[in-house]
């Protein structure tokens, strides 16, 4: 089954706090950088939503998705660097890229603070990404009009 999250009724009235045509999205990325087509779909969806004037509250990287936040992966020269692409979108649109801290720590994705806390000697979190709690996913789901998830089985 595809990892897809949706509002049950797409015809429900848009929340009055947003403009008539603009929606607030929250995006969950659960696929790793090696599942390239799925990882790219998430990126393209986010980019397109922003281009069309919608708001993207936060992108939340979870499960395999946390590997996208590593600055230590090297993409083959003729392949897309999904991490760099997310960083660019984040810079262009001030988009928040949240990474589940529990999943990240288990995968060796650490920022400076966690690196010194656990005395790991180095950090690996790419710039523009932030380690956040799972609560940030719940908060985003509460605030958004549409919650869309990419990746999964």
């Amino acid at each position: 089954m595809a990892g897809f999250l949706y509002m049950s009724d797409l015809n429900t009235a848009v929340s009055p706090t947003v403009g008539s045509s603009s929606l607030t999205y929250a995006i969950v990325v659960r696929c790793g950088p090696h599942q390239q087509s799925q990882a790219l779909s998430a990126l393209q969806f986010a980019k397109e939503a922003l281009l069309q004037g919608h708001k993207v509250l936060r992108v939340f990287f979870y499960q395999q998705g946390v590997h996208i936040a590593s600055r230590l992966r090297v993409a083959p020269q003729d392949e897309l660097n999904i991490t760099a692409l997310w960083q660019q979108v984040s810079l262009d649109y001030e988009l928040e890229l949240g990474v589940c801290i529990a999943a990240a720590l288990q995968s060796g994705i650490v920022d400076r603070q966690e690196s010194s806390r656990y005395e790991l000697g180095s950090d690996s979190l790419a710039s523009q990404f932030t380690l956040v709690g799972l609560g940030q996913l719940a908060a985003a789901s509460a605030e958004c009009d549409r919650l869309v998830s990419f990746g999964g089985n």
Binding site: M1, Q63, L137, A138, S141, S149, N153
Partner: protein, 116 residues
């Protein structure tokens, strides 16, 4: 905002079962009123196991914590139970059994649907 969380992973094949249960618990902590639907291999998370491999967290303990987190609405698909010759009465939790044909109707009752 109500959210239906569908769990379709085996309990110990990967981190997925634990990570998706965590999402349900956190949603409830944020008062999102989640309900949980066990589907496909996900029904195996409801087996009353007394022992688990020492390398894993006991999924049964997390499942039984759902009630403490005010997640009282647990659904199980009948066809998934049949696939593993399971009977609802033998599961670790009290669950509502639902036929595959009714799943769409169930989903329609919630604002969001999160599929793991």
């Amino acid at each position: 905002m109500s959210c239906l969380v569908t769990l379709s992973h085996t309990p110990y094949g990967s981190q997925d079962a634990k990570e998706s249960l965590d999402v349900a618990l956190v949603l409830s902590a944020f008062e999102q009123k989640p309900a949980v639907l066990f589907l496909d291999e996900g029904v195996l998370q409801l087996l009353p196991t007394s022992q688990t491999p020492s390398s894993h967290k006991h999924i049964g303990k997390i499942v039984s914590a759902l009630e403490m987190y005010d997640i009282n609405e647990l659904w199980v698909e009948q066809e998934s139970l049949d696939r593993f010759s399971l009977v609802a009465d033998h599961l670790s939790q009290t669950v509502n059994v639902i036929a595959r044909g009714q799943i769409a109707q169930l989903c329609a009752q919630y604002d969001q649907h999160l599929v793991f």
